[in-house]
């Protein structure tokens, strides 16, 4: 009997333990956090942009994928700005001016990102050089043998 009571206390404690994890607000989401724009063309523009913006609270998700309240507030910003006639790239630039390149999943060429674009070009050039030399050599060898 005493053991059962002890177990019950443990179970109740275990249930209460994760409570601090619920440290999130209980406010309703921003108007455009979960509501689409009425115009399907504008909503498509907003959705495409939201797929390429990083959630700041949950950094490996886009704001389109995340349920964090802050991601909802960012979606509201995107949709209400699109509705106000801003272009998606202007909204991306607005966020990059506040959070740096980090907030965008679509890297642009900048002082820190240029190797991303330069390295593939360099590797292709090296491979092309090696292949040309090798194949050219083989053709010469074949020519000499004949």
């Amino acid at each position: 009997m005493i053991r059962a009571g002890f177990a019950l206390v443990l179970v109740v404690l275990a249930v209460l333990l994760p409570r601090p994890l619920a440290a999130q607000d209980s406010m309703p989401p921003a108007p455009y956090a979960y509501n689409q724009l009425e115009d399907p063309r504008l909503e498509a523009e907003a959705a495409a942009l939201m797929q390429t913006l990083r959630c700041l609270k949950c950094q490996s998700q886009s704001i389109a994928d995340s349920d964090a309240p802050m991601a909802g507030d960012m979606r509201h910003q995107v949709r209400s700005r699109i509705l106000a006639g801003e272009s998606p790239e202007a909204i991306r630039a607005w966020l990059i001016a506040r959070y740096g390149d980090y907030v965008s999943y679509e890297p642009t060429v900048s002082a820190t990102t240029w190797p991303l674009f330069a390295i593939p070009v360099l590797v292709i050039a090296i491979v092309a050089g090696v292949l040309l030399r090798r194949l050219g050599k083989r053709r010469n060898d074949a020519g000499e043998a004949a």
């Binding site: 700041l56 802050m70 507030d73 509201h76 910003q77």
Partner: protein, 176 residues
């Protein structure tokens, strides 16, 4: 024979990247996203009061007089409880602290302040994080030093610990 050694190059390259990955795994990851608004003026905003006891906050409240602290916080944020005594210490040193409460309710703001003390002169209510996003803040709590022209001069991410108080006081002095 001389060319043989080059056969090992791909494996060496792979070993290098494996080593690099292993090394990076042991490094502490910086989870903070810093604002790139340092040196920029505050964006225009005017927020309603977060509860009945104090006025709301607007950009105009930061212009003139001494540099101020802009504290981004929320009653539902646990680290904000931890930093409450440090904010009071800063207030005791004569620092004006303007709060912005993120996604908060008036009754929750009032009960938080009743329980943990009120170091603020004003608190604006940012129900949809719009001012937070406009100044490049990515969480609660965060504290910004704003100079008397309304320019953002410094950002402190996370709760203010006792050792951060002198740092903030020095940044306020620098912003003078």
């Amino acid at each position: 024979m001389k060319n043989r050694i080059w056969l090992w190059a791909p494996l060496a390259l792979f070993a290098f990247f494996a080593g690099l990955a292993g090394y990076m795994l042991t490094q502490e990851k910086d989870q903070f996203v810093e604002s790139t608004m340092i040196g920029q003026p505050l964006p225009d905003f005017a927020l309603d009061p977060a509860f009945e006891g104090l006025p709301g906050a607007a950009k105009a409240d930061f212009v003139g007089g001494q540099p101020r602290l802009l504290n981004i916080w929320a009653s539902w944020c646990l680290p904000c409880i931890a930093e409450a005594p440090q904010l009071e210490a800063l207030q005791a040193q004569g620092v004006e602290i303007v709060g912005i409460a993120i996604r908060d309710r008036p009754e929750d703001v009032a009960s938080f302040l009743a329980r943990h003390g009120n170091p603020y002169t004003r608190i604006g209510s940012d129900r949809i994080s719009e001012v937070q996003l406009a100044i490049g803040s990515s969480g609660v709590p965060e504290t910004f030093v704003i100079d008397a022209k309304g320019v953002i001069r410094y950002q402190h991410i996370g709760d203010i610990r006792a050792e951060d108080v002198p740092v903030l006081l020095a940044e306020l002095e620098k912003a003078r």
